[in-house]
Amino acid sequence: MRKLYSLERVSWLFVLILAIVVPPILGGYLTSILILICIWSMMCISLNLIYGYTGQLSLGHSAFLALGAYSFGLVAVKLHIGFWPAFLAAAVITGLFGFLIGIPALKLRGHFFVLVTLGFAVTIGVIVLAWVDFTGGANGLAGIPRPDPIPLPWGVKFRFDSLLHMYYFVLLFLILTAGFCHRLVSSLLGKTFIAICHDENLTESLGVNTMSRKLLSFTISAMLAGVAGALYASYNAVISPEIAHFTRGTDVLAYLIVGGSATMTGPIVGTFVLVAIPEVLQVVPYLKTLINGVILMLFIVFLPSGIIGGFKTILPKLGGLRGRPRAGEHDIA
């Protein structure tokens, strides 16, 4: 019996309203930043599913981002089949790759898994750059379309040419992704993921086929990252091999840890903090990797539970701002 009007829900409703109402008054530059924040947040949420909630640290998500972006771009541009079929194709292709690479990778535990996913990410990065005939190599792919205009009842068409409309489109997907993951991890199925995260051996001895559960989580996670990639491709209209560089994946990991893994709101908070603030401060791109690395190091050593995780530990001590005691470190509200 969850309190409908808990502090947390109210604050997120408030943020959502801001997210909808404020952007029209922001300029193009800020809106484009918000779009990127939404896309990276989606990727962060996908990583949270396999890492925060199922306990498997994947460094390979840059590969899925790239696979989503490139399969969407290639299908849309070379096959001319329209936005939505291409979008669907991107999700399916990326999910398929997630499934296929997950099978060998998830047989391994701990550091082996991390290594294989890292190897996969680097390999995809190499292939994207080297397979010039297919991916365009260093020149990348251009002319990737925005969504087709949607006809509205009163005779007008909702076009996606403007940044603002693209922002709402991406925001919608972020809300869908967050909602999907929230429902998933608070369900019984989600509980089995969390159980695997706590103690995989115990979960297996209780009769759960942990391999297939992990594979399910990994495949969904890969698909969501692929969707984020497709959205990025559509928004940017141009993609290049830098989207396949494994540091895309490690950056998102930094956002996740800083925001707080195994929480629903952590990915979004972490992404916002690490993407918005450097932009506002006009930080040079190459300095970003260094700053992300330093911040990640500080957090993993001193505050591994991240910003949101830290809040949740501190707030009860400040005198019961929370309602009932919350069992389990995996936040599902």
Partner: protein, 255 residues
Amino acid sequence: MTLLEVSSLNKRFGGLMAVSDVNFSIQSGELLSIIGPNGAGKTTLFNLLTGIYRPTSGGIHFNGSDITGCKPYQAARYGIGRTFQRTTIFRKETVLDNLVIGQSLHMKTGVWGSVLKTSAARWEEQQIREKAREILSFVGLTGSEDKTAGNLTEEAQKRLSIAMVLVAKPKLLLLDEPTGGVNLEEIGGLIELVKKVQESGVTICLIEHKMRMVMSISDRIIVLNYGKKIAEGTPNEVASNGEVIKAYLGERRVA
């Protein structure tokens, strides 16, 4: 009726024969205890039965099926439940959630059902929670539903670990030192629980060190030493067996 049949079971780790040519069977409904000095191979035997280790050679048949070398989750699905020497529960979850997770092997709701919260999904969740409450009261932990499992007393945690396995409706329950680390006063309560489980139709196989307890509740006893079975029989037969007494010399425990 023979529920479990173990034939010529061997397990080698490099140069060490942890389990050597072990043969025994467990009859449906009985309570069999496995005793022996430390390092005799008792837990290794359990690990072999539940698929955590692959036998080097030999066979394991359960309820008519050949389960030799199966994976741990398969052993559980065949109907073998098992607790561990060090109480293994999900410490960070609530007591109820521990029992909910214990039922996931029978869960039918998939991804879409979970995300869309279909009525089938909600119904299954309700059933699972009710079953969890049922088992909670069976093991005597009603009222602890919402407590964090790690905050329970050692004895309550033992009860919880048994409940977690019971909730999947096993046919054979392997208990690895169920009274380890528990106060003298509380042992009686746990023994009663074990008997209650046996009476409800579950066959039990127990590893224990507390002799008096083992002698009083077991239908049959098997003694292992250095990975080999050195005796088998009723408590009286085993207590008067020369080999057994020799093995325990200097390590006799009267609990």
